[in-house]
Protein backbone atom coordinates (compact mmCIF):
# COMPACT_ATOMS: atom_id res chain seq x y z
CA UNK A 1 0.00 0.00 0.00
CA UNK A 2 1.29 3.43 -0.91
CA UNK A 3 0.39 6.47 1.14
CA UNK A 4 1.23 10.03 0.58
CA UNK A 5 2.20 11.78 3.77
CA UNK A 6 0.54 15.11 4.44
CA UNK A 7 2.96 17.97 4.00
CA UNK A 8 1.90 19.59 7.20
CA UNK A 9 1.64 18.75 10.85
CA UNK A 10 5.20 19.22 11.97
CA UNK A 11 6.04 22.77 10.97
CA UNK A 12 6.93 23.57 14.56
CA UNK A 13 9.73 20.99 14.45
CA UNK A 14 11.52 22.37 11.42
CA UNK A 15 13.67 25.29 12.31
CA UNK A 16 15.64 26.56 15.23
CA UNK A 17 17.14 29.61 13.53
CA UNK A 18 15.53 31.78 16.17
CA UNK A 19 17.71 30.07 18.77
CA UNK A 20 14.79 28.66 20.78
CA UNK A 21 14.39 24.94 21.46
CA UNK A 22 12.20 22.88 19.18
CA UNK A 23 9.27 20.99 20.64
CA UNK A 24 11.07 17.69 20.22
CA UNK A 25 14.06 19.03 22.15
CA UNK A 26 11.81 20.05 25.00
CA UNK A 27 10.26 16.56 24.99
CA UNK A 28 13.79 15.07 24.87
CA UNK A 29 14.90 16.93 27.93
CA UNK A 30 11.77 15.98 29.83
CA UNK A 31 12.45 12.31 29.00
CA UNK A 32 16.14 12.69 29.89
CA UNK A 33 15.28 14.07 33.29
CA UNK A 34 13.65 10.75 34.17
CA UNK A 35 16.88 8.83 33.51
CA UNK A 36 20.17 8.93 35.42
CA UNK A 37 22.82 10.71 33.31
CA UNK A 38 24.99 7.59 33.05
CA UNK A 39 22.14 5.70 31.37
CA UNK A 40 21.73 8.17 28.51
CA UNK A 41 23.98 6.80 25.75
CA UNK A 42 24.56 10.12 23.97
CA UNK A 43 23.62 13.66 24.89
CA UNK A 44 24.51 16.74 22.84
CA UNK A 45 24.37 19.88 24.93
CA UNK A 46 24.67 23.19 23.00
CA UNK A 47 27.38 21.56 20.92
CA UNK A 48 29.23 23.55 18.28
CA UNK A 49 32.13 22.42 16.13
CA UNK A 50 34.13 24.54 13.68
CA UNK A 51 36.98 23.87 11.25
CA UNK A 52 39.14 26.99 10.84
CA UNK A 53 36.43 29.15 12.45
CA UNK A 54 33.78 27.90 9.98
CA UNK A 55 30.96 26.19 11.91
CA UNK A 56 30.36 22.63 10.72
CA UNK A 57 27.66 21.84 13.27
CA UNK A 58 25.80 24.50 15.24
CA UNK A 59 24.08 24.46 18.58
CA UNK A 60 23.16 20.79 18.66
CA UNK A 61 20.81 19.79 21.49
CA UNK A 62 19.36 16.32 21.59
CA UNK A 63 19.75 12.99 23.32
CA UNK A 64 19.70 9.38 22.26
CA UNK A 65 17.93 7.27 24.85
CA UNK A 66 18.51 3.58 25.72
CA UNK A 67 17.07 1.11 23.20
CA UNK A 68 16.53 3.73 20.50
CA UNK A 69 17.34 3.01 16.86
CA UNK A 70 18.33 6.52 15.87
CA UNK A 71 19.21 7.56 12.36
CA UNK A 72 21.22 10.67 11.60
CA UNK A 73 20.10 11.85 8.20
CA UNK A 74 21.42 14.65 6.04
CA UNK A 75 22.85 15.59 2.65
CA UNK A 76 26.58 15.35 1.86
CA UNK A 77 28.63 17.83 3.84
CA UNK A 78 25.83 18.46 6.32
CA UNK A 79 27.92 17.50 9.37
CA UNK A 80 26.57 13.95 9.93
CA UNK A 81 29.97 12.33 10.29
CA UNK A 82 31.27 15.24 12.36
CA UNK A 83 28.32 14.77 14.73
CA UNK A 84 29.14 11.09 15.05
CA UNK A 85 32.85 11.78 15.65
CA UNK A 86 31.89 14.30 18.34
CA UNK A 87 29.70 11.65 19.96
CA UNK A 88 32.62 9.22 20.03
CA UNK A 89 35.15 11.73 21.35
CA UNK A 90 37.16 11.57 18.12
CA UNK A 91 36.61 15.34 17.80
CA UNK A 92 36.41 17.87 20.61
CA UNK A 93 33.51 20.36 20.51
CA UNK A 94 34.48 23.98 19.88
CA UNK A 95 31.88 24.85 22.51
CA UNK A 96 29.22 23.01 24.48
CA UNK A 97 29.65 19.38 25.35
CA UNK A 98 28.83 15.83 24.31
CA UNK A 99 28.14 13.32 27.05
CA UNK A 100 28.64 9.60 26.49
CA UNK A 101 26.88 7.67 29.26
CA UNK A 102 27.08 10.81 31.38
CA UNK A 103 30.82 11.45 30.86
CA UNK A 104 32.35 14.00 28.46
CA UNK A 105 33.05 12.02 25.27
CA UNK A 106 36.66 13.19 24.89
CA UNK A 107 37.60 11.86 28.35
CA UNK A 108 35.32 8.80 28.28
CA UNK A 109 37.05 5.58 29.33
CA UNK A 110 34.30 2.96 29.60
CA UNK A 111 34.74 1.94 25.97
CA UNK A 112 33.44 -1.62 26.38
CA UNK A 113 29.95 -0.06 26.32
CA UNK A 114 30.47 1.33 22.82
CA UNK A 115 30.77 -0.36 19.43
CA UNK A 116 31.73 1.52 16.30
CA UNK A 117 31.39 0.58 12.64
CA UNK A 118 32.99 3.08 10.24
CA UNK A 119 32.02 3.48 6.60
CA UNK A 120 35.41 2.06 5.54
CA UNK A 121 38.61 1.12 7.28
CA UNK A 122 41.98 2.06 5.84
CA UNK A 123 43.00 -1.59 6.01
CA UNK A 124 40.45 -2.93 3.58
CA UNK A 125 42.12 -1.28 0.61
CA UNK A 126 45.56 -2.73 1.37
CA UNK A 127 46.69 -6.35 1.51
CA UNK A 128 45.90 -6.39 5.21
CA UNK A 129 47.06 -9.84 6.30
CA UNK A 130 44.81 -10.45 9.32
CA UNK A 131 42.08 -13.07 9.21
CA UNK A 132 38.45 -12.23 10.01
CA UNK A 133 38.82 -14.00 13.33
CA UNK A 134 41.83 -11.88 14.30
CA UNK A 135 39.90 -8.67 13.61
CA UNK A 136 36.79 -9.85 15.47
CA UNK A 137 39.06 -10.77 18.38
CA UNK A 138 40.20 -7.12 18.59
CA UNK A 139 36.81 -6.62 20.24
CA UNK A 140 37.96 -8.59 23.28
CA UNK A 141 40.73 -6.05 23.97
CA UNK A 142 40.38 -4.79 27.52
CA UNK A 143 43.40 -2.55 27.93
CA UNK A 144 47.18 -2.89 27.81
CA UNK A 145 48.44 -6.25 28.94
CA UNK A 146 52.13 -7.19 28.54
CA UNK A 147 52.72 -10.32 26.51
CA UNK A 148 49.10 -10.34 25.30
CA UNK A 149 50.44 -12.04 22.18
CA UNK A 150 50.75 -15.27 24.17
CA UNK A 151 47.17 -15.14 25.47
CA UNK A 152 44.49 -17.23 23.85
CA UNK A 153 41.57 -15.32 22.39
CA UNK A 154 38.19 -15.40 24.11
CA UNK A 155 36.99 -18.13 21.79
CA UNK A 156 33.38 -18.44 22.90
CA UNK A 157 32.60 -14.76 22.67
CA UNK A 158 34.38 -14.42 19.35
CA UNK A 159 32.56 -17.47 17.94
CA UNK A 160 29.20 -16.22 19.22
CA UNK A 161 29.74 -12.76 17.73
CA UNK A 162 30.72 -14.17 14.34
CA UNK A 163 27.69 -16.47 14.43
CA UNK A 164 25.40 -13.56 15.28
CA UNK A 165 26.81 -11.46 12.44
CA UNK A 166 26.51 -14.40 10.04
CA UNK A 167 30.22 -14.60 9.22
CA UNK A 168 31.22 -17.79 11.09
CA UNK A 169 32.09 -19.45 7.79
CA UNK A 170 34.48 -16.60 6.92
CA UNK A 171 36.59 -16.88 10.11
CA UNK A 172 39.82 -17.86 8.41
CA UNK A 173 39.39 -15.63 5.34
CA UNK A 174 41.79 -12.76 4.81
CA UNK A 175 40.17 -9.38 5.55
CA UNK A 176 41.22 -7.85 2.25
CA UNK A 177 39.47 -10.68 0.35
CA UNK A 178 36.02 -9.85 1.78
CA UNK A 179 33.26 -7.96 -0.01
CA UNK A 180 32.23 -4.59 1.43
CA UNK A 181 29.10 -6.11 3.01
CA UNK A 182 31.10 -8.91 4.62
CA UNK A 183 33.61 -6.38 5.97
CA UNK A 184 30.80 -4.43 7.61
CA UNK A 185 29.44 -7.61 9.21
CA UNK A 186 32.93 -8.39 10.46
CA UNK A 187 33.12 -4.93 12.08
CA UNK A 188 29.74 -5.48 13.70
CA UNK A 189 30.96 -8.84 15.03
CA UNK A 190 34.07 -7.09 16.43
CA UNK A 191 31.77 -4.71 18.30
CA UNK A 192 29.47 -7.50 19.53
CA UNK A 193 32.37 -9.29 21.27
CA UNK A 194 32.39 -6.33 23.66
CA UNK A 195 28.66 -6.77 24.38
CA UNK A 196 28.09 -3.05 23.78
CA UNK A 197 25.13 -1.01 24.98
CA UNK A 198 25.56 1.45 22.12
CA UNK A 199 26.47 0.73 18.50
CA UNK A 200 27.41 3.70 16.30
CA UNK A 201 27.60 3.17 12.53
CA UNK A 202 28.70 5.63 9.87
CA UNK A 203 26.90 4.92 6.58
CA UNK A 204 27.52 1.19 7.05
CA UNK A 205 25.87 0.07 3.82
CA UNK A 206 27.44 2.60 1.45
CA UNK A 207 28.79 0.56 -1.47
CA UNK A 208 26.98 -2.62 -0.39
CA UNK A 209 24.73 -4.28 -2.99
CA UNK A 210 20.97 -4.50 -2.45
CA UNK A 211 21.02 -8.08 -1.14
CA UNK A 212 23.86 -7.33 1.27
CA UNK A 213 22.09 -4.19 2.44
CA UNK A 214 18.93 -6.12 3.24
CA UNK A 215 20.86 -8.79 5.18
CA UNK A 216 22.74 -6.09 7.04
CA UNK A 217 19.60 -4.24 8.08
CA UNK A 218 17.92 -7.47 9.19
CA UNK A 219 20.88 -8.21 11.46
CA UNK A 220 20.99 -4.69 12.94
CA UNK A 221 17.22 -4.77 13.51
CA UNK A 222 17.69 -7.97 15.56
CA UNK A 223 20.48 -6.42 17.62
CA UNK A 224 18.20 -3.52 18.47
CA UNK A 225 15.01 -5.46 19.14
CA UNK A 226 16.29 -8.72 20.61
CA UNK A 227 19.42 -7.57 22.45
CA UNK A 228 18.23 -4.06 23.26
CA UNK A 229 21.39 -2.45 21.85
CA UNK A 230 20.97 1.28 21.21
CA UNK A 231 21.76 1.93 17.56
CA UNK A 232 22.92 5.18 15.99
CA UNK A 233 23.21 4.98 12.21
CA UNK A 234 24.48 7.82 10.06
CA UNK A 235 22.80 7.58 6.69
CA UNK A 236 21.65 9.49 3.65
CA UNK A 237 19.27 6.74 2.58
CA UNK A 238 15.81 8.07 3.47
CA UNK A 239 14.11 4.76 2.59
CA UNK A 240 16.35 2.75 4.93
CA UNK A 241 15.88 5.28 7.72
CA UNK A 242 12.09 5.15 7.40
CA UNK A 243 12.09 1.34 7.43
CA UNK A 244 14.61 0.65 10.16
CA UNK A 245 14.92 3.52 12.60
CA UNK A 246 12.61 4.49 15.45
CA UNK A 247 13.83 8.08 15.64
CA UNK A 248 15.61 10.39 13.28
CA UNK A 249 17.77 13.48 13.62
CA UNK A 250 18.00 15.45 10.39
CA UNK A 251 21.06 17.65 10.25
CA UNK A 252 22.19 20.32 7.86
CA UNK A 253 24.70 22.01 10.17
CA UNK A 254 21.75 22.66 12.53
CA UNK A 255 19.29 20.03 13.65
CA UNK A 256 16.42 20.55 11.22
CA UNK A 257 14.22 17.82 12.67
CA UNK A 258 14.44 15.40 15.56
CA UNK A 259 11.71 13.02 16.52
CA UNK A 260 10.03 9.71 15.69
CA UNK A 261 10.50 8.67 12.06
CA UNK A 262 6.76 8.60 11.43
CA UNK A 263 6.74 12.36 11.97
CA UNK A 264 9.38 12.84 9.28
CA UNK A 265 7.42 14.33 6.39
CA UNK A 266 7.91 16.20 3.14
CA UNK A 267 8.19 19.52 4.90
CA UNK A 268 10.94 18.29 7.21
CA UNK A 269 12.81 16.79 4.26
CA UNK A 270 12.41 20.01 2.25
CA UNK A 271 13.90 21.87 5.22
CA UNK A 272 16.76 19.37 5.30
CA UNK A 273 17.69 19.42 1.62
CA UNK A 274 16.82 23.05 0.93
CA UNK A 275 14.43 22.32 -1.97
CA UNK A 276 10.85 21.00 -2.26
CA UNK A 277 10.59 17.26 -1.63
CA UNK A 278 7.55 15.09 -2.40
CA UNK A 279 7.20 11.95 -0.35
CA UNK A 280 5.70 8.63 -1.44
CA UNK A 281 5.34 6.08 1.31
CA UNK A 282 5.12 2.30 1.09
CA UNK A 283 3.83 0.42 4.13
CA UNK A 284 6.02 0.98 7.16
CA UNK A 285 5.86 -2.70 7.96
CA UNK A 286 8.52 -4.24 5.81
CA UNK A 287 7.58 -7.32 3.78
CA UNK A 288 10.57 -9.29 5.16
CA UNK A 289 9.99 -8.69 8.83
Amino acid sequence: MVNKLPANGSTELLSQDNGSDTESQVVDRQQDQNLPADQIPIRFDETWFSYNSVPVVRDINFSITPGEFAAILGPNGSGKTTLMKLALGLLKPTSGQVLLFGEPAETFTDWHKVGYVPQRTQATESRFPASVREIVNFGSYSGFSPLSIFKRDKSNRVDEAMEMAGIAQLASRRVSDLSVGQQQRMLIARSLVRKPELLVMDEPVAGVDAAGEEQFHTMVRRLNRDLGITIVMVSHDIGAVMREATTCACINRDIVFHGPVHQLDAQALSGLYGFPVDVLMHDYEHTHR
Binding site: K85, L88, G89, L90, T109, W111, H112, V114, Y116, P118, T121, Q122, A123, S126, R127, F128, P129, A130, S131, E134, I135, F138, G139, Y141, S142, G143, F144, S145, P146, L147, S148, I149, R174, L187, R190, A210, A211, E213, E214, I238, G239, A240, M242, R243, L269, V277, D278, V279, L280, M281, H282, D283, H286, T287, H288
Partner: protein, 303 residues
Protein backbone atom coordinates in the same frame (compact mmCIF):
# COMPACT_ATOMS: atom_id res chain seq x y z
CA UNK B 1 85.31 -23.10 6.55
CA UNK B 2 84.42 -20.93 3.50
CA UNK B 3 86.83 -18.08 2.85
CA UNK B 4 84.15 -15.47 3.62
CA UNK B 5 83.93 -16.52 7.29
CA UNK B 6 87.69 -16.40 7.85
CA UNK B 7 87.68 -12.62 8.09
CA UNK B 8 86.54 -11.01 11.31
CA UNK B 9 85.13 -7.95 9.50
CA UNK B 10 82.98 -10.25 7.36
CA UNK B 11 81.64 -12.11 10.38
CA UNK B 12 80.69 -8.74 11.87
CA UNK B 13 79.07 -7.69 8.61
CA UNK B 14 77.03 -10.93 8.39
CA UNK B 15 75.93 -10.63 12.02
CA UNK B 16 74.94 -7.01 11.38
CA UNK B 17 72.94 -8.14 8.34
CA UNK B 18 71.06 -10.67 10.48
CA UNK B 19 70.19 -8.05 13.13
CA UNK B 20 69.20 -5.36 10.63
CA UNK B 21 67.39 -7.79 8.35
CA UNK B 22 65.31 -9.04 11.29
CA UNK B 23 64.39 -5.69 12.83
CA UNK B 24 63.84 -3.29 9.92
CA UNK B 25 61.08 -5.23 8.12
CA UNK B 26 59.33 -6.12 11.41
CA UNK B 27 58.54 -2.43 11.81
CA UNK B 28 57.94 -2.12 8.11
CA UNK B 29 54.77 -4.24 8.39
CA UNK B 30 53.04 -1.48 10.37
CA UNK B 31 54.37 1.30 8.12
CA UNK B 32 53.53 -0.38 4.81
CA UNK B 33 50.00 -1.34 5.87
CA UNK B 34 49.33 2.23 7.03
CA UNK B 35 50.78 3.62 3.78
CA UNK B 36 53.51 5.36 5.72
CA UNK B 37 56.41 3.82 3.80
CA UNK B 38 57.65 7.33 2.97
CA UNK B 39 58.43 7.95 6.65
CA UNK B 40 61.34 5.50 6.34
CA UNK B 41 62.74 7.45 3.38
CA UNK B 42 62.27 10.76 5.19
CA UNK B 43 63.95 9.59 8.38
CA UNK B 44 66.85 8.11 6.41
CA UNK B 45 67.50 11.57 4.91
CA UNK B 46 67.30 13.04 8.41
CA UNK B 47 69.88 10.42 9.47
CA UNK B 48 72.09 11.60 6.61
CA UNK B 49 71.92 15.15 7.95
CA UNK B 50 72.89 13.74 11.36
CA UNK B 51 75.86 11.92 9.82
CA UNK B 52 76.96 15.12 8.06
CA UNK B 53 76.79 17.03 11.38
CA UNK B 54 78.82 14.27 13.07
CA UNK B 55 81.47 14.26 10.34
CA UNK B 56 81.78 18.03 10.52
CA UNK B 57 81.97 18.11 14.33
CA UNK B 58 84.00 14.87 14.51
CA UNK B 59 81.49 13.20 16.85
CA UNK B 60 80.14 9.61 16.84
CA UNK B 61 77.85 9.54 13.82
CA UNK B 62 75.30 6.91 14.96
CA UNK B 63 74.52 8.88 18.14
CA UNK B 64 74.07 12.20 16.32
CA UNK B 65 71.97 10.48 13.64
CA UNK B 66 69.87 8.81 16.35
CA UNK B 67 69.17 12.16 18.04
CA UNK B 68 68.26 13.68 14.64
CA UNK B 69 65.91 10.86 13.60
CA UNK B 70 64.23 10.67 17.02
CA UNK B 71 63.58 14.42 17.11
CA UNK B 72 62.31 14.40 13.54
CA UNK B 73 60.06 11.38 14.16
CA UNK B 74 58.43 13.05 17.18
CA UNK B 75 58.00 16.35 15.29
CA UNK B 76 56.45 14.68 12.24
CA UNK B 77 54.03 12.70 14.40
CA UNK B 78 53.02 15.80 16.37
CA UNK B 79 52.47 17.82 13.18
CA UNK B 80 50.38 14.99 11.77
CA UNK B 81 48.30 14.41 14.90
CA UNK B 82 47.66 18.09 15.53
CA UNK B 83 46.78 18.51 11.84
CA UNK B 84 49.16 21.44 11.55
CA UNK B 85 50.36 19.99 8.23
CA UNK B 86 48.92 17.19 6.09
CA UNK B 87 50.84 13.93 6.78
CA UNK B 88 52.59 13.73 3.41
CA UNK B 89 53.46 17.45 3.44
CA UNK B 90 55.14 17.10 6.87
CA UNK B 91 57.19 14.20 5.51
CA UNK B 92 58.20 16.21 2.42
CA UNK B 93 59.30 19.19 4.52
CA UNK B 94 61.53 17.01 6.68
CA UNK B 95 62.86 14.98 3.72
CA UNK B 96 63.95 17.97 1.64
CA UNK B 97 64.91 20.09 4.65
CA UNK B 98 67.29 17.46 6.03
CA UNK B 99 68.71 16.71 2.58
CA UNK B 100 69.41 20.44 2.15
CA UNK B 101 71.12 20.54 5.56
CA UNK B 102 73.24 17.53 4.59
CA UNK B 103 74.24 19.09 1.24
CA UNK B 104 75.23 22.37 2.91
CA UNK B 105 77.26 20.64 5.62
CA UNK B 106 78.95 18.31 3.14
CA UNK B 107 79.91 21.35 1.03
CA UNK B 108 81.33 23.09 4.12
CA UNK B 109 83.29 19.91 4.95
CA UNK B 110 84.72 20.12 1.43
CA UNK B 111 82.86 17.37 -0.33
CA UNK B 112 82.44 13.62 -0.10
CA UNK B 113 84.93 11.29 1.51
CA UNK B 114 85.02 7.53 1.95
CA UNK B 115 83.31 7.60 5.39
CA UNK B 116 80.33 9.51 4.06
CA UNK B 117 80.18 7.17 1.05
CA UNK B 118 79.95 4.17 3.40
CA UNK B 119 77.00 5.80 5.21
CA UNK B 120 75.27 6.57 1.92
CA UNK B 121 75.50 3.11 0.36
CA UNK B 122 76.58 0.80 3.20
CA UNK B 123 79.90 -0.97 3.56
CA UNK B 124 81.15 -4.48 4.23
CA UNK B 125 84.30 -3.18 5.90
CA UNK B 126 83.11 -0.48 8.25
CA UNK B 127 80.78 -2.37 10.63
CA UNK B 128 82.55 -2.09 14.00
CA UNK B 129 82.10 -3.99 17.24
CA UNK B 130 80.40 -0.87 18.69
CA UNK B 131 77.93 -0.85 15.78
CA UNK B 132 77.10 -4.46 16.54
CA UNK B 133 76.36 -3.67 20.18
CA UNK B 134 74.06 -0.83 19.08
CA UNK B 135 72.25 -3.13 16.68
CA UNK B 136 71.85 -5.88 19.27
CA UNK B 137 70.50 -3.43 21.86
CA UNK B 138 68.02 -2.02 19.36
CA UNK B 139 66.92 -5.51 18.27
CA UNK B 140 66.13 -6.29 21.91
CA UNK B 141 64.22 -3.01 22.44
CA UNK B 142 62.20 -3.53 19.26
CA UNK B 143 61.41 -7.16 20.08
CA UNK B 144 60.19 -6.22 23.57
CA UNK B 145 58.13 -3.28 22.21
CA UNK B 146 56.49 -5.45 19.58
CA UNK B 147 55.76 -8.31 21.96
CA UNK B 148 54.23 -5.96 24.53
CA UNK B 149 52.16 -3.92 22.11
CA UNK B 150 51.39 -6.48 19.41
CA UNK B 151 47.62 -6.19 19.80
CA UNK B 152 47.63 -2.39 20.02
CA UNK B 153 49.91 -1.99 16.97
CA UNK B 154 47.73 -4.35 14.94
CA UNK B 155 44.57 -2.46 15.94
CA UNK B 156 46.04 0.96 15.10
CA UNK B 157 47.23 -0.39 11.78
CA UNK B 158 43.78 -1.76 11.03
CA UNK B 159 42.00 1.52 11.86
CA UNK B 160 43.16 4.21 14.31
CA UNK B 161 39.63 5.43 15.10
CA UNK B 162 38.39 1.93 15.91
CA UNK B 163 41.52 1.38 18.00
CA UNK B 164 40.91 4.58 19.95
CA UNK B 165 37.28 3.63 20.64
CA UNK B 166 38.59 0.24 21.76
CA UNK B 167 40.60 2.07 24.45
CA UNK B 168 44.04 1.95 22.73
CA UNK B 169 46.34 4.94 23.42
CA UNK B 170 46.87 5.65 19.74
CA UNK B 171 48.95 8.85 19.96
CA UNK B 172 51.46 7.43 22.43
CA UNK B 173 51.97 4.25 20.42
CA UNK B 174 52.30 6.21 17.18
CA UNK B 175 55.07 8.20 18.82
CA UNK B 176 56.78 5.02 20.01
CA UNK B 177 56.54 3.52 16.53
CA UNK B 178 57.96 6.67 14.89
CA UNK B 179 60.88 6.92 17.34
CA UNK B 180 61.81 3.26 16.95
CA UNK B 181 61.55 3.55 13.17
CA UNK B 182 64.10 6.38 13.36
CA UNK B 183 66.34 4.26 15.58
CA UNK B 184 66.05 1.27 13.23
CA UNK B 185 67.08 3.41 10.29
CA UNK B 186 70.03 4.81 12.19
CA UNK B 187 71.55 1.45 12.97
CA UNK B 188 70.59 -0.09 9.62
CA UNK B 189 72.40 2.58 7.62
CA UNK B 190 75.78 0.93 8.38
CA UNK B 191 74.71 -2.12 6.41
CA UNK B 192 72.62 -0.84 3.49
CA UNK B 193 73.28 2.91 3.64
CA UNK B 194 70.85 5.75 4.28
CA UNK B 195 69.71 5.97 0.67
CA UNK B 196 68.53 2.37 0.51
CA UNK B 197 67.50 1.57 4.08
CA UNK B 198 63.86 2.35 3.23
CA UNK B 199 63.88 -0.53 0.75
CA UNK B 200 64.89 -2.99 3.48
CA UNK B 201 61.95 -1.77 5.56
CA UNK B 202 59.41 -2.07 2.75
CA UNK B 203 60.32 -4.81 0.25
CA UNK B 204 60.55 -7.84 2.61
CA UNK B 205 57.11 -6.83 3.92
CA UNK B 206 55.66 -6.88 0.40
CA UNK B 207 57.11 -10.37 -0.10
CA UNK B 208 55.66 -11.68 3.17
CA UNK B 209 52.24 -10.10 2.53
CA UNK B 210 52.08 -12.21 -0.62
CA UNK B 211 53.14 -15.50 0.98
CA UNK B 212 51.50 -15.53 4.40
CA UNK B 213 48.39 -14.59 6.38
CA UNK B 214 47.89 -13.34 9.94
CA UNK B 215 49.52 -10.32 11.62
CA UNK B 216 52.00 -12.21 13.80
CA UNK B 217 52.98 -14.56 11.00
CA UNK B 218 53.47 -11.62 8.64
CA UNK B 219 55.80 -9.87 11.09
CA UNK B 220 57.83 -13.07 11.57
CA UNK B 221 57.89 -13.83 7.82
CA UNK B 222 59.02 -10.26 7.07
CA UNK B 223 61.91 -10.65 9.51
CA UNK B 224 62.93 -13.99 7.98
CA UNK B 225 62.79 -12.54 4.45
CA UNK B 226 64.74 -9.48 5.69
CA UNK B 227 67.50 -11.65 7.17
CA UNK B 228 67.65 -13.73 3.98
CA UNK B 229 68.01 -10.78 1.58
CA UNK B 230 70.43 -8.90 3.87
CA UNK B 231 72.76 -11.88 4.27
CA UNK B 232 72.59 -12.94 0.60
CA UNK B 233 73.12 -9.31 -0.50
CA UNK B 234 76.09 -8.96 1.86
CA UNK B 235 77.71 -12.16 0.56
CA UNK B 236 77.24 -11.05 -3.05
CA UNK B 237 78.72 -7.65 -2.17
CA UNK B 238 81.79 -9.36 -0.68
CA UNK B 239 82.48 -11.56 -3.71
CA UNK B 240 81.66 -8.83 -6.26
CA UNK B 241 83.53 -6.19 -4.22
CA UNK B 242 80.69 -3.64 -4.42
CA UNK B 243 78.66 -1.63 -1.87
CA UNK B 244 76.21 -3.95 -0.09
CA UNK B 245 73.29 -1.46 -0.19
CA UNK B 246 72.71 -2.13 -3.88
CA UNK B 247 73.08 -5.92 -3.69
CA UNK B 248 70.78 -6.24 -0.65
CA UNK B 249 68.01 -4.21 -2.28
CA UNK B 250 68.40 -5.92 -5.66
CA UNK B 251 68.20 -9.33 -3.94
CA UNK B 252 65.00 -8.20 -2.21
CA UNK B 253 63.49 -6.93 -5.45
CA UNK B 254 64.39 -10.15 -7.28
CA UNK B 255 62.64 -12.14 -4.55
CA UNK B 256 59.59 -9.86 -4.74
CA UNK B 257 59.35 -10.26 -8.54
CA UNK B 258 59.68 -14.04 -8.18
CA UNK B 259 56.93 -14.21 -5.54
CA UNK B 260 54.56 -11.92 -7.49
CA UNK B 261 55.18 -13.94 -10.66
CA UNK B 262 54.51 -17.17 -8.74
CA UNK B 263 51.25 -15.74 -7.38
CA UNK B 264 50.19 -14.59 -10.85
CA UNK B 265 50.90 -18.00 -12.38
CA UNK B 266 49.13 -19.75 -9.52
CA UNK B 267 46.03 -17.56 -10.02
CA UNK B 268 46.07 -18.15 -13.77
CA UNK B 269 46.40 -21.92 -13.38
CA UNK B 270 43.70 -21.92 -10.69
CA UNK B 271 41.31 -20.11 -13.01
CA UNK B 272 41.85 -22.67 -15.78
CA UNK B 273 41.37 -25.69 -13.54
CA UNK B 274 38.19 -24.37 -11.88
CA UNK B 275 34.95 -26.23 -12.55
CA UNK B 276 33.23 -24.37 -15.42
CA UNK B 277 29.83 -25.06 -13.77
CA UNK B 278 30.87 -22.91 -10.81
CA UNK B 279 30.44 -19.67 -12.72
CA UNK B 280 26.88 -20.60 -13.75
CA UNK B 281 26.04 -21.58 -10.19
CA UNK B 282 27.20 -18.30 -8.67
CA UNK B 283 25.35 -16.37 -11.39
CA UNK B 284 22.06 -18.10 -10.60
CA UNK B 285 22.62 -17.52 -6.86
CA UNK B 286 23.13 -13.81 -7.48
CA UNK B 287 19.92 -13.65 -9.53
CA UNK B 288 18.04 -15.30 -6.71
CA UNK B 289 19.37 -12.81 -4.17
CA UNK B 290 18.47 -9.93 -6.43
CA UNK B 291 14.97 -11.27 -6.87
CA UNK B 292 14.53 -11.43 -3.11
CA UNK B 293 15.36 -7.81 -2.70
CA UNK B 294 13.17 -6.76 -5.61
CA UNK B 295 10.25 -8.24 -3.75
CA UNK B 296 11.12 -6.41 -0.61
CA UNK B 297 11.70 -2.84 -1.61
CA UNK B 298 9.66 -0.53 0.46
CA UNK B 299 9.92 2.67 2.40
CA UNK B 300 9.98 6.03 0.83
CA UNK B 301 11.05 7.53 -2.46
CA UNK B 302 12.01 11.14 -2.73
CA UNK B 303 12.35 13.22 -5.84
Amino acid sequence: MPEIFQYEFMNRAILASVLVGATAPAFGVFLVLRRLSLIADTLSHVALAGVAIALLTKTFAPVVALIATTSAAVSIEELRMRRLLPGDAALAVFLYGSLAVAVVLISIADGFNSTLFSYLFGSVLTVTQTDLWWMAALAIVISVFMLMFSSELAQITFDPDIARINGVRVHLLNLGLAVLTGATITVSMRVVGVLLVGALIVIPVLVSLRITQGMTRTVIASSIVGVFVAVVGMVIAYYADIAPGGTVVLTAITLLVAVELGAFLSRSLGRHSRDPDLANHSHSHESHAHGTVDDSHGGQHSH
